[in-house]
Amino acid sequence: MQFLKLVLRNALRHRLRTVLTLLGLVVAILSFGLLQTVVSAWYAGAEGAAPTRLVTRNAISLVFALPLSYRDQIRAVDGVRAVSHATWFAGIYQDPKNFFPQFAIEPRTYLAMYPEYLVAPQEFAAFLRDRKGAIIGRKIAGTYHLKVGDVLPLRGTIYPGTWEFTVRTIYDGVDAKTDTSQMFFHWEYLNETMKKRSRSHADQVGVYVVDVADADRVAEVSHAVDALFKNSLAETLTETERAFQIGFVKQTEALVVAIQIVSYIVIVIILAVMANTMAMTARERLAEYATLKVLGFSPVYIAALILGESVAIAAIGAAIGIALTFPVSDWFAAQVGTLFPVFKVSGETVILQVLCALGVGVVAAIAPGRRAATVKIAEGLRAIR
């Protein structure tokens, strides 16, 4: 009881110093949490990938399309349950900064493979009837204030011209980790238009999505698909959806690594600040610690007093920082719109924040704690005034 009383009263002894240190800790823990959430958001696509879904793309590059004729050949591979396809559209909605992914798909087969996208049956039926219909995710609808029935014009970049779509349904995610920042429309519409405008771009698809019946046969099916098109004009590369998504992330991996490093540098900086605070504190109280030793308190007790104070300050800073991470990350997500499909503070991030704060508290107390515990009593008493 006496120990806790001493720890807490010592922690609040220099209010301004404690408040400033706490402020630093709060900012550091909050920044760390936000940066870690950015990193998690980067990998959100890979996290949401199903283990039985494969993606088959052109082996040379994703930029090159694949013939539509591959669909039936892939479907015939042993172990394949279903095949669909998606084509990257890259249209601009009003302004280039209003980015969200758009895919031309074969709706029935594609959505059957993605049960995590939830659509109202009646609206989906309406979408199927409308050649220019579009399905948009809830996040897009929220960000750009779109609703069912609204016209959604896109300016094509890969496929030139203005393309007008009508929002027919808005899909929700099965959970908070599901990406609801995508738009889907009929590949048929794209293909028919391209037949008129540019014959060479017709009957082409971006990637095939392959649903494998047995997760244990994913590698086998993947090899079988690629073997089918070996030495053809468009050789394929088939990989799991997760590997496919990570491949995207790897293109910007240096940025992700930089963010990771910065997040830990923030922690190192606050560690230095905290260590300095605790060193000053311990130096000022050297005579008190010597007095406690004179009275019979052990060096371990003295070190524990400093450790307790340091950890108490770190814990308070962490609690406030973590509490603020949630509203601030929501605000941040609203500001960046659909740039990050999923931007949620994860449990792992909170655990990391707690561990970092505890680490800061403990490490900052090591040197001053050791000094106070080992200083000779006579020397400590001379430090008075």
């Binding site: 006496q2 009383k5 001493l6 009263r9 010592n10 002894r13 005579a287 008190e288 007095t291 406690l292 030793k293 004179v294 009275l295 019979g296 308190f297 052990s298 000779k376 009593i377 006579a378 008493l381 008075i384 005034r385």
Partner: protein
């Protein structure tokens, strides 16, 4: 202070004590061949110029520093041979400390400061409270229990420190310039209190002081100069002369 064949065994028996410090690569002797006896119930004043080794000798007697050579026998036990842990336990149970600058813990109240040494004992909370109240009553500060050191005068703080020094009922009280930071009136109060500790409670006191008036309160005075003790003066005998 004087060896007599009929006298009882000394409480503190210091033999050939030596202590030196290393300063800038040089060894500076502080105490050389100190031999001294203090009987139970004695009130000894140690005087001498600055740097004469008074506080060093006090620290050695109190077990907060170790000598380079010699023995300090306390009730027959050589405390120079005790380990740090044993010494800490010995101090907690045997020695009460009074410092020039009181050395109270600023974040604890007068009550909590006095209670501090008792938290190392097995006493219950209620027993501790009774002891602390009695000690603070003895030093005349019953009405200042909830006050923090910053809310007390220098004299009051030193009385709280005295209450803390006696709370564990130590056999020996060491005081390092106990009136050095006090005005004349407060110093007199503190000295009266120390005299009561010696005469009424029979505590053995060793006090370092520069203050002649404070030294006069002691039963005997010893002078320390350049690390050597000079003849003891028995204050009472001197006053009779």
């Amino acid at each position: 202070m004087v060896n007599e064949a009929t006298a009882p065994l000394p409480l503190i028996d210091i033999r050939n004590l030596a202590k030196s410090y290393r300063r800038g690569g040089q060894i500076v002797p502080v105490l050389t061949d100190i031999t001294l006896e203090v009987r139970a119930g004695d009130f000894l004043g140690l005087m001498g110029p600055s740097g004469s080794g008074k506080s060093t000798l006090l620290n050695l007697i109190a077990g907060i520093d170790k000598p380079d050579a010699g023995q300090i026998l306390f009730d027959g036990v050589d405390i120079t041979r005790l380990s740090e842990t044993e010494l800490a336990d010995w101090r907690a149970g045997t020695v009460g400390f009074i410092f020039q600058f009181y050395n109270l813990i600023p974040v604890l109240t007068a009550f909590e400061n006095v209670e501090l040494p008792l938290t190392l004992t097995r006493l219950t909370r209620r027993e501790r409270r009774e002891h602390v109240e009695a000690a603070l009553a003895l030093v005349g500060l019953s009405d200042r229990m909830p006050h923090y050191p910053s809310e007390l005068s220098g004299g009051q703080q030193q009385r709280v420190a005295i209450a803390r020094a006696i709370i564990a009922d130590p056999r020996l009280i060491v005081a390092d310039e106990p009136t050095g930071d006090l005005d004349r009136h407060s110093a007199e109060e503190v000295l009266k209190l120390m005299d009561r500790l010696s005469t009424d409670l029979g505590k053995t006191i060793v006090m370092v002081t520069h203050d002649r008036r404070a030294a006069d309160q002691a039963h005997a005075i010893m002078y320390l100069d350049k690390g050597e003790l000079s003849t003891a003066v028995d204050v009472h005998e001197r006053s009779l002369r």
